[in-house]
């Protein structure tokens, strides 16, 4: 099998179609996607497939097309850009996968072609960096993870300003106020500029196996201490049956491990940076958080240290773990028809800290400590784009109320817009079943009340993908530090403080 670009794309497309038509199982789908080098992508697309209903197309679960008035508007404003091509590269997050499927609804009335390049997350970053470095304009729209927003802030057009500047291209009723305020603050804003439009919001919630907790007489935990006790009790009672208390995404050197770590230290009253912009992961609270994580690792499947979010989801879906504090986007897949644990997982508010959360005044670089770690992303309009206006039209369409709601309906993942949460079609799917939205109430509460955000600073993309997860990996797998959390974090502190100082950010 050749994995040249074209072959890879057709392979992925064929695999996705086979999965959508239920010709192959989810396991086969994930394996094939893994073979094609699509990591998290496959996991997300796996969730999407769960929206399929027999006898209907994959898109038909949304039961709608782009509304007539929007199509008419697209036709009118898109005419001057007919024949142009909009390109954007993204990880295969659920909304991206849906957009890729329904992009013809935009292309047909406007004549603007849309090319969505789906690659693993680290490649999205590399491509975006190269593009902005050379100001090439290869990509008209950037998919920006929340940890990169500050890095790319100078390279994007502020969508709110552009909306006002170009009234002839402004989509009627686009309504920026409909985006959840915490999401705008945590994801899209940097130095009071909208770097892009919120597009995706995976967020940490707590999920538990109702049957196992009932069997062992454990109350669903509400705090870190209760969670720890429950995890230990489950491991002790069920390990012989192949079930562990919890599962982690602790792959050394991967961003997923960094996400787990931040959630752990925030939950123990710690922070990443202090108000003086020095690294604080090595203070007392930070060390307590890391020690807690080391304890959790002892109660998780050994494969956890080789697993990213994909692996963690598979642990949950295959019934290997019973209590997890992680991404809400796992949930629809847990209720899928081919899930071994369909209907057995329950969502709940993220466990709260026993010692309190560090105040935003005590942390640096715009960090927001809390228990609802978010891993959202935005769509940014490249200021180097050669098709800026055509790209802007696509971006408005992709982020419009109707399209975003349809994305949620199809995959069951959390919407960006308040109106989508309230949409009766979304509420109607809050039952056990494929593409369920029964976790969204918890998600909305988490976003509105306890959402946490990583620092906004230009070096963060590097720290969160390299220094922090690599050194944590050395600690957790026993390669270095002899299990001493403090020693590990002191080393991370020296690496980060030096880099911050060298960059003139102190």
């Amino acid at each position: 099998m050749s994995f040249r670009d074209y072959d890879k794309k057709t392979f992925i497309a064929d695999t996705a179609r086979d999965f959508a038509l239920r010709r192959i199982s989810k396991r086969d789908f994930l394996k094939k996607m893994a073979l094609a080098g699509v990591g998290f992508s496959a996991f997300n697309a796996g969730l999407l497939g769960t929206g399929y209903q027999r006898g209907k197309g994959i898109i038909s679960s949304a039961e709608a097309q782009t509304p007539e008035e929007m199509t008419k508007w697209l036709k009118d404003v898109g005419a001057p850009f007919k024949g142009s091509k909009v390109r954007y590269t993204s990880e295969a997050t659920p909304p991206t996968v849906v957009l890729n499927q329904i992009k013809n609804e935009f292309t047909e009335p406007t004549g603007i072609e849309v090319e969505i390049e789906i690659v693993p997350l680290e490649q999205v970053l590399a491509k975006a960096i190269q593009d902005v470095q050379g100001q090439l304009g290869t990509y008209d729209i950037y998919y920006l993870d929340q940890s990169w927003v500050a890095t790319f802030a100078p390279d994007t057009v502020d969508p709110v300003s552009y909306y006002k500047e170009k009234p002839d291209l402004a989509m009627p009723g686009f309504d920026f106020d409909d985006f959840s305020a915490p999401l705008v603050k945590g994801l899209a804003l940097y130095d009071d500029k909208w770097v892009g439009i919120p597009f995706d919001i995976p967020i940490f919630i707590t999920m538990y196996r109702r049957d196992i907790l009932e069997k062992l007489g454990i109350k669903p935990p509400t705090t870190f201490d209760e969670f720890t006790a429950a995890v230990k009790q489950i491991t002790e009672a069920e390990k012989a049956n192949g079930i562990y208390g919890t599962g982690l995404q602790a792959k050394s050197g991967h961003y997923s491990l960094e996400c787990d770590w931040t959630a752990a230290i925030w939950g123990h009253g710690g922070g990443i940076f202090g108000a003086n912009k020095k690294f604080t992961g090595n203070d007392e609270q930070g060390i307590n958080g890391l020690k807690w994580y080391q304890e959790m690792l002892k109660n998780a499947p050994p494969q956890s240290t080789a697993s990213t979010w994909d692996g963690q989801f598979q642990m949950m879906q295959s019934g290997q773990v019973a209590l997890v504090n992680s991404w809400d986007e796992f949930f629809p897949g847990l209720d899928a028809d081919d899930s071994k644990v369909k209907g057995l997982w329950e969502p709940m508010h993220p466990i709260s800290s026993n010692v309190g959360i560090r105040s935003v005044d005590d942390v640096g670089f715009g960090e927001i400590p809390n228990v609802g770690h978010q891993g959202g992303s935005i769509l940014g309009l490249s200021k180097y784009s050669k098709n800026l206006d055509a790209a802007w039209l696509f971006m408005q369409w992709a982020c419009s109320k109707e399209i975003m709601t349809r994305c949620t309906l199809l995959g069951g993942f959390a919407p960006m817009r308040i109106s989508s949460f309230e949409d009766p079609r979304v509420k109607a799917k809050a039952v056990v079943g494929p593409g369920t939205t029964r976790h969204l109430e918890v998600v909305k509460w988490t976003i509105d009340n306890v959402m946490a955000s990583e620092p906004d600073m230009p070096l963060w993309a590097g720290f969160s993908n390299n220094e922090i997860p690599v050194e944590l990996g050395k600690l957790l797998t026993g390669q270095d530090y002899g299990g001493d959390a403090k020693k590990c974090m002191d080393n991370v502190a020296s690496l980060i403080d030096k880099a911050v100082e060298d960059a003139g950010l102190l």
Binding site: G37, P301, A461, G462
Partner: protein, 304 residues
């Protein structure tokens, strides 16, 4: 008359300067030289140029500072760790692949019926793209459902508590498995070619003198194969030194930095946007390959 015929310019190319005709070596060298300049020399020079700059991550500008990256590399523990891992990986892979390759080649070096097919089948792993091989082994070594891991557990060689790719002491071995599976056939092919080109007479004379198979192997086969072995080691060694695919797909340099090689470290830095420092590590890799290859070629008197 004859002289006049030889001196006359070829019909239709009288206007070409001599250095542009087929009699001159230049036109023959030009395409290869152009390719080498565009795809080899220019990128190498550009990498060296880039390594003399320091990245300002905030302004995203590369500032001229010739010593910054080189001093940083010298003080960077991860560079030394990566260099160690690269040598270890290359050394282990070479020893295993060479031993297995020679052993299999000796077994296949016969004209008996069916052995031609076996020799052809040996080439199959070579046509699989390394990234796909890595993905196959990643799945086979998965701690939960991987068939290889389960077999190793069953044999008592590994414990499920320590998945091979997630444990720092075994991860490099896991990556090596994929490399050995894919590239041992390459060694087999070279060794077979060498064995088949050996003269028969010394072996016949040794047989008449009563030499055993072992004696013939150590006294005749190995010495006569030494040049072939040296060239195989050189080619494979250079290739192994720039190992990237297997590491990237199977462990992404982890756990920690247990499988981080020079190229995978450079790749990680590159993906994070520090192009000058990534170039510095690439240039270091190139320099080490050139130095080690030159020493090897001198020591074993290899002439390419």
């Amino acid at each position: 008359m004859t002289a006049a015929v030889y001196d006359a310019p070829a019909p239709g190319r009288a206007w070409l300067p001599r250095w542009f005709t087929s009699e001159h070596p230049l036109p023959w060298l030009l395409p290869a030289t152009a390719l080498m300049v565009v795809f080899g020399i220019y990128p190498a020079l550009y990498a060296i140029w880039l390594s003399l700059h320091k990245r300002n991550p905030v302004l995203r500008k590369d500032v001229w500072n010739p010593s910054a990256n080189w001093l940083k590399a010298l003080a960077d523990e991860r560079v030394w760790n990566a260099l160690y891992n690269t040598f270890l990986y290359t050394g282990l892979a070479l020893v295993i692949q060479l031993s297995l390759g020679l052993a299999i080649a000796l077994l296949l070096d016969t004209d008996r019926r069916g052995y031609g097919l076996l020799r052809a089948l040996m080439t199959l792993p070579l046509v699989v793209p390394p990234a796909v091989t890595a993905m196959m082994f990643l799945l086979m070594l998965d701690g939960s459902f991987g068939v290889l891991s389960r077999s190793l557990y069953a044999l008592g060689l590994l414990s499920p508590q320590y998945p091979i790719l997630a444990t720092s002491s075994t991860a490099l071995g896991g990556v090596l498995l994929a490399d050995i599976w894919q590239w041992t056939p390459f060694m087999v092919l070279i060794m077979l070619a060498g064995l088949r080109s050996l003269p028969k007479e010394p072996f016949e004379a040794a047989a008449i003198d009563g030499a055993s198979a072992t004696q013939a192997f150590f006294r005749l086969t190995l010495p006569m194969m030494s040049k072939v072995i040296a060239i195989a080691v050189l080619i494979r060694g250079i290739d192994l030194f720039r190992i990237f695919d297997y590491v990237k797909v199977m462990t992404d340099s982890g756990p920690g930095t247990a499988t981080e090689t020079l190229t995978s470290y450079a790749g990680r830095i590159y993906f994070n946007g520090d192009f000058p420092y990534a170039s510095t590590i690439s240039v270091i890799t190139l320099a080490v390959v050139i130095i080690v290859s030159t020493i090897f070629m001198k020591a074993f008197r290899v002439r390419l």
